[in-house]
Symmetry: C2
Subunit: 310 residues, 2 copies
């Protein structure tokens, strides 16, 4: 029997999955991300956890095809990161270091891209090889899959869908320092921003008034036919639908998969995104489908395993 | 010795190149594109021309690695086109048909994408594996190269850079039926349109007045410091530079190569494009370089040969 590990490294915890070579996840667990001292303990902790798991299961290292890993930073083809926002790492030869620690082959990728690969393999994009993944969370993450592989680009920074400029007239800055990024309108925080702006504009009654705003509250109100909430969702859908038509012109995907916290609103999202996509769609992209992500927090582990099994 | 053919099929002529396996083009010639009767003669004519060339050179078919071919239509991975605008073909299994005619392996791609591959291999993008090619001709063509291969997408329609929406307020339609496509501002005809609009707006003196407008005339006037021509070039550069910053966010290229008739204006183009790109560039794409295409009309034959040698 052959196995591999699929690992998703985050700023708080490291999600670890053990997979059979046929793609079945047979075990998963978490360890803490010790980010202090430049994150020097993270890779040794991962290597120790792998050794312990192999011992526990009676698996010989010769049966392990390798370790796939997603990390929250751009990663180049040699598995090198230049800097991380929340792991403490500066320049780090991630794949090489973990290979030396573990004695196993390691393939490392960007976490958002790797999660996209997971959704293509086992989730909302199953059966397709050309896919756009959009993760609507605190920010807007993304991944572009071309012929079954991640489009990671020259610096490992491909698929940064959240930082497409969608509004040249925006005056507030995005977290990246630029203005008018998709993230400012389609992330959970972006939707709250749209909602606050809309509510301030006039006194039109809405169940959203007088409560703490959230993306969830907006879509709950949409489901109750709240007219103001529907306007907010329409603005969200316009930015995202138009952006997807532009991305499709460039990468010609079979499917767009939408994940992240905002996607918990469900199929109702497509009521706002898809008509705007169709307004602007290029003739060659008319067949493109929409789907919700299915793997939730397990997408990263699955995609990481797929990096090894590809 | 091993050889291959690189073939660029156009609506008027078919450009044929004979390459050694080391990538050196050792012969090139053209045949007529006989597009009448649904273009039924095109592939047999190509096959006959190949047979004649092999005989002329005393090359055995066993020495031929295959035929690479670019055609003016989306082409899927099986080498099938669904329709062509100017070859007469409807649905056609291009690779299979030419394989049966010639007895050789055939790989077919979209002509603009294939030309991009040629520029990466032997032209302005040499030494890079992640590249955007923008061809500024009658329209705006494009190609995206990822890790040395063409991003052709699900339907063979990837890299349609000319049809990014760059101006939501445009009222005139693009050739594709949509409004505000990059092609309406950055193609040779787009530049003429920008020039005509600008000249109509007021009476500011310009050497462009009273002559037939062309992209060439605009950039010639720019070189003579004509203030109105400079304004037109700035508008062109703003649309193209901003579009490139968005494309870079998605595909993270090492280099952008600019070709087509408009690129004959030379390095001066970058004076208008690059600062606008830098205004909006995402931090991860700051190292991206700009270059002019180098292969002219030979790019398609080179890229087609590379399809076989890849």
């Amino acid at each position: 029997m052959s196995y591999c590990f699929g690992i998703d490294v985050g700023g708080t915890s490291v999600k670890m999955g053990l997979f059979r070579a046929d793609g079945e996840m047979i075990d998963k667990w978490e360890i803490k991300s010790r980010t202090e001292n430049g994150g020097e303990a993270i890779l040794p902790d991962i290597s120790d956890a792998i050794t312990a798991k192999l011992k526990e299961r009676g698996i010989n290292t010769k049966e392990v095809l390798g370790i796939g890993m997603g990390v929250p930073a751009p990663v180049n083809r040699e598995g090198i990161v230049k800097a991380t926002a929340n792991l403490g790492w500066g320049y780090k030869e991630v794949s090489r270091e973990l290979e030396e620690l573990s004695g196993l082959k390691v393939v490392t990728g960007n976490d958002a891209n790797v999660a996209a690969l997971g959704e293509m393999w086992k989730g909302g994009g199953k059966g397709h090889e050309n896919m756009i993944m959009v993760t609507l969370g605190t920010g807007v993450g993304g991944g572009i899959i071309v012929n079954g592989s991640v489009l990671s680009g020259e610096n490992g920074a491909g698929g940064e869908i959240g930082h497409l400029t969608v509004n040249a007239d925006e005056e507030e800055a995005c977290g990246c320092g630029r203005k008018g990024c998709l993230e400012e309108y389609a992330s959970a925080t972006g939707i709250v921003r749209l909602a606050a702006r809309r509510l301030e504009r006039d006194d039109k009654p809405s169940s959203l008034r007088g409560h703490k705003l959230s993306a969830k509250a907006v879509f709950n109100a949409v489901k109750e036919d709240d007219a103001v909430a529907i306007e907010i969702a329409e603005e969200f859908g316009r930015y995202l639908g138009y952006a997807l038509s532009d991305i499709a012109v460039l990468v010609d995907p079979a499917i767009v998969v939408i994940g992240g916290g905002v996607s918990k609103a469900g199929e109702i999202l497509f009521r706002f995104i898809e008509p705007r996509f169709r307004d602007r769609v290029f003739f060659a992209n008319k067949e493109m489908e929409f789907a919700l992500a299915e793997l939730g927090n397990d997408a990263g582990m699955h995609g990481a395993a797929k990096l090894v099994l590809n």
